[in-house]
Symmetry: C2
Subunit: 311 residues, 2 copies
């Protein structure tokens, strides 16, 4: 699957994934009221608005980007109807030719991780039948429980041609509390990076491994080091835009071929119309504002990469 | 909420939580076929069987134990119908007077953790209405992202009178890969334990904090140390039974008052009828076998605690 992602990135010239992390406050009032009129001020109403919001954005950006990354927490908070909107979002993305990175950050002891892996990337048997429960293409995985918590994901990836991104160094301010602590003279995240190499060694798919890594755009120096440490791992880079990362910060995450990283932006794209620079679009054209934000992000990254190449 | 859990443990004299982690292979064929006849060999059929299996077990043990701990991965793998069975299980547990520990092991950057906390322990606003999406009483939380990934859970607990158990030292064989690594002369899990103390300091509820810890029964020596390090944290102890922990191994997790810990058993109870020692119950009486397994576990723990007291 990682080869397909790399191909799509090249084809669209956009190492960009749109984070579909909708909050009700991002959704234009008119769209929200339409759903409330149909379903009431209920979880179903919220879920309907979220899906229609996502769909409009996917319609507007599907030709520009290779993938979307729905953050499942944003759906889980609306209970079952919210998770139904998550599933509909995954399916709709596929229907538009978009790959889906399920940002689920699951991880547990072995037998339980296997169930999570099946839920998001695999197939479950019921009697003589088989089903794909959520059917994302990639999932994010938390490594805190060690190899036996991650290995079941790797096995399911191998069986189903899917991929994972393991949390190595997250984008948030307090990520260093555990991840940066020195163990045998090097930060814990470098030990996790070593594990990512181990876990990914025997599931190569083209130039990269199905086992990638998450490293926050907010830590470009660490990104540079980890890019070298994990030459075969594709890096999923959150933290661009709203969290503070800029185009220049992204350069260290890429390989010389301009590949090897995919940058996420969520609020910066899906709620672009609420930002000063895109407010001329108006709330009713929120999806057009999202499209423009993707084009601007693409130009920002391209210019940073070009500039780095010429230095 | 932790005070209520402690009270229920005292009242029922059982520091035991039943892990509702159903696999289809645990469910008696007759029960399974009944669901397949009604819903086909579908996710709905599997989910129906799972809920009816859980319900029968809860009916059989509700007077004996204070709480159940559904592992959400086991439901998530059956997609939306599976998660509906999870929700029905939570609601049914409450109707039987059982507390619910949602074993969800969520954790993310701040704003996302807030959504997970709302999903499992809080309330979500939709227009002028408020809903409790999954409405567990406790949730398990992964600390790998540091304070800003855990704090939103603590805040939601304070607002709603709920509790969490933070993964400190997990029961699985490879938990040591990261958790045992030495940082400034002590294992990483002790640093996490320090954080648990910090996070829990201002949300006491009776003698214990709403912020508890997960420590595997498979590591009793570590349990002894951590019990001392976190005097106010209730400890959720997985790994008894099927994973290898015995009654004697549990003693270090308890305080002198016989409180401070609650021990989980999943397969050992819910699939008891499949074990040699309970097979005389027969598959049709699986819930009675579960009841007997709880009584035997209670006796095992009590005898180990009594023995320790007399030493």
């Amino acid at each position: 699957m990682i080869h397909q992602l790399a191909q799509e990135i090249k084809k669209k010239n956009a190492p960009i994934v749109v984070g579909l992390d909708p909050k009700l406050s991002f959704i234009p009032e008119v769209l929200l009221q339409k759903s409330y009129t149909a379903y009431g001020e209920t979880l179903e109403g919220a879920a309907d608005a979220i899906f229609r919001f996502n769909r409009a954005i996917m319609d507007a950006v599907a030709d520009l980007v290779p993938a979307v990354k729905p953050q499942i927490a944003m759906y889980e908070q609306f209970g079952i109807p919210g998770l139904m909107a998550f599933k509909k979002t995954v399916d709709y993305a596929h229907s538009k030719g978009l790959l889906v990175i399920g940002d689920v950050k699951r991880g547990d002891i072995g037998s339980t991780s296997e169930s999570y892996a099946i839920a998001h990337l695999g197939k479950i048997k019921v009697g003589s039948q088989e089903f794909e429960p959520f059917a994302e293409d990639f999932a994010t995985v938390n490594p805190y429980l060690g190899t036996d918590g991650v290995k079941p994901f790797v096995d399911v990836c191998k069986e189903n041609g899917k991929g994972i991104f393991v949390l190595v160094k997250t984008s948030n301010p307090s990520s260093g509390e555990l991840q940066d602590r020195l163990v045998d003279g090097k930060p814990l995240y470098e030990h996790v990076a070593d594990k990512v190499n181990d876990w990914g060694r025997d599931c190569m798919d083209g130039d990269y491994s199905e086992v990638g890594a998450v490293i926050g755009a907010t830590y470009p120096q660490i990104g540079r080091q980890l890019r070298e440490d994990m030459p075969k791992a594709f890096i999923l880079v959150p933290g661009y835009g709203a969290q503070g990362g800029t185009g220049k910060d992204l350069v260290p995450f890429f390989n010389a071929d301009g590949l090897g990283a995919i940058v996420n932006s969520s609020r910066g794209i899906i709620a672009a119309y609420q930002k000063e620079e895109y407010k001329n679009f108006g709330a009713e054209n929120f999806a057009d504002a999202s499209r423009q934000a993707v084009l601007d992000m693409q130009a920002d990254i391209q210019s940073a990469l070009d500039h780095a190449l010429n230095e």
